[in-house]
Point group: C2
Chain length 364, copies 2
Amino acid sequence: MFVADLETPSVVVDLDVMERNLSRMADYCRSNNLRLRPHTKSHKVPALAKRQLAHGAHGITVAKIGEAEVMLDAGITDILIAYPIVGTAKAEKLADLATRANVTVALDSVEAAQSISAAANKTNARVSVLVELDVGFHRCGVADEDEVMNLARKVADLPGLEFKGLMFFPGHLQVLEKERAELRAAVNDFLERSLAKLHAADLPVTIVSGGSTPTAREGHLFSGVNEIRPGMYIFNDRNMMGIGIASVEDCALSVVTTVVSTSVAGRAIVDAGSKTLSSDRHLAGDGKGFGMVKTDPDAELEQLSEEHGHLNISKSSREYRVGEQLAIIPNHVCSTVNMHNQIYGVRGERVETVWEVTGRGKVQ
Amino acid sequence: MFVADLETPSVVVDLDVMERNLSRMADYCRSNNLRLRPHTKSHKVPALAKRQLAHGAHGITVAKIGEAEVMLDAGITDILIAYPIVGTAKAEKLADLATRANVTVALDSVEAAQSISAAANKTNARVSVLVELDVGFHRCGVADEDEVMNLARKVADLPGLEFKGLMFFPGHLQVLEKERAELRAAVNDFLERSLAKLHAADLPVTIVSGGSTPTAREGHLFSGVNEIRPGMYIFNDRNMMGIGIASVEDCALSVVTTVVSTSVAGRAIVDAGSKTLSSDRHLAGDGKGFGMVKTDPDAELEQLSEEHGHLNISKSSREYRVGEQLAIIPNHVCSTVNMHNQIYGVRGERVETVWEVTGRGKVQ
């Protein structure tokens, strides 16, 4: 089967580009003595998580208990849940997972620590815990080294839990390189103060987990960091191009669409809207557009309906015909993959494999 | 089971409110001699489509062949696909559907008409066709009465197709009432010119299909319209509140979430992000926010990560605790439902039913 034979819209992954992305990141980590723990939210496919492990990843990251279950069922046994697990039902599922796998969880509250401890105690499980720091994104994470210290001590004292170290998500560093460098100093300052305080209190830190795709190749510049958790690097997307992390040649994933209408002047409508691409905005430049037409940078994907992509082609010299296929690089691959039950692995024009997105929809 | 027992995030539908929404719209249509053909993209659940038919709908609308298949498999046999079906593979599926159900399709190109005709001819199916008009949203649809006429004649001449009338989507009328009234005049002008021309040419028009939820209760004010296709009215959402179409009491659907972190000052983080609510923007007012916390209008859901909703609570007098449940009305119900495999029907605090969203992910 060829790409041209796929019904549209379909998500296709160029296997050569993907393999190159995986291998580059693994090489970087090896050269810099960093453990690689890819965030699998970007693909949610166990077979792809296994490709990452085959490239030398030390384990995987997930966002949800349901995603962890899917990965564990596929035989992956070293899993970080980089999300606060709150409530008895979820704590019990987590404790159950921890009887079958090496499970680590990040948290920022005594409430989460206590309920996980209670559940782990019931099943005789040991759950490894990272204390999450708010290094500037202002989402989750404790605010200063005293709070780090208090929560770490609490975790160390609770039965069923093992304090392993620190985690942070530098979401505010999804910016151009120069701005990242300026923001990094404050991150490092917080990390250093926390590590010194924990060291003085004899609370040993074995893991400092940082990094996201935008900062992944700068992992070695963060104080104490010995593990990174990039997700999007497997595919890359228009947002990563926007901050200069990837070029169009590094984008492994695209959405194959068909032009379904050209009847409005200056417009071509493709069969990929917000229910195919997601309505995630472009987080760079002028923020405009919902994706990039690979073969025509002059066409602007300026608006999405649920099932229609509105291409403004008034600045394009290309002619658009009803029925032709177009490949679009989405703004944000994680959200695009999440819309689909299947994605296709292709080599050149040939469809080589189809993956079920088995981690999709595991919202809980 | 009670709502408080649901794992979060979960989508819940207040059955009493939903029934009232269904019945009000059905009453309006009866009183105004309009056929009701609800767009089922908003829920994608056959059981809910059947509730709409039980309230007197004459058939349903879908966006995709895959959605039509799901509805037909559930026994629903009068289906409008309000989307241009382009390409041989899709045309053949459409023709197959037309051998089993009363299928109508909207289109705006000769290419679409020809390929559907060829496929219908092969299976001896008859496909009813509406010509789509661009009444001002500038997405799909032909531009003037001459193009309407040319395409209608072409359809009437092609074997396997039956020209039935006109369809339009007044997406640009998702605005406040006063603005809608101003824009309606141009829509009516185009409709009247087209109907006169078709009448003069002896091309009988039996269906003029208009309407979306924002304009649904104004269906009788559009020239010649005898059918409307509202979708969101079954649930309503923050966007419908924003343009004054619904009040909070009319919103049947909400997302039950849990506060998972309060460690950042002025913030509470809930476990519903863009993969739960969708990142669809607010299309009214200042455009800010990704949903409304039902019990606290002073909390602003100002940002979404994939699995985190960032509540700015700095203007709220309420205290937020890790572990508590919050219900959120999303900006756009269609996109929210599309994120989920199941949604729950509740009466008061009791969970009465669970529906599989079987039409979800049928992107093709």
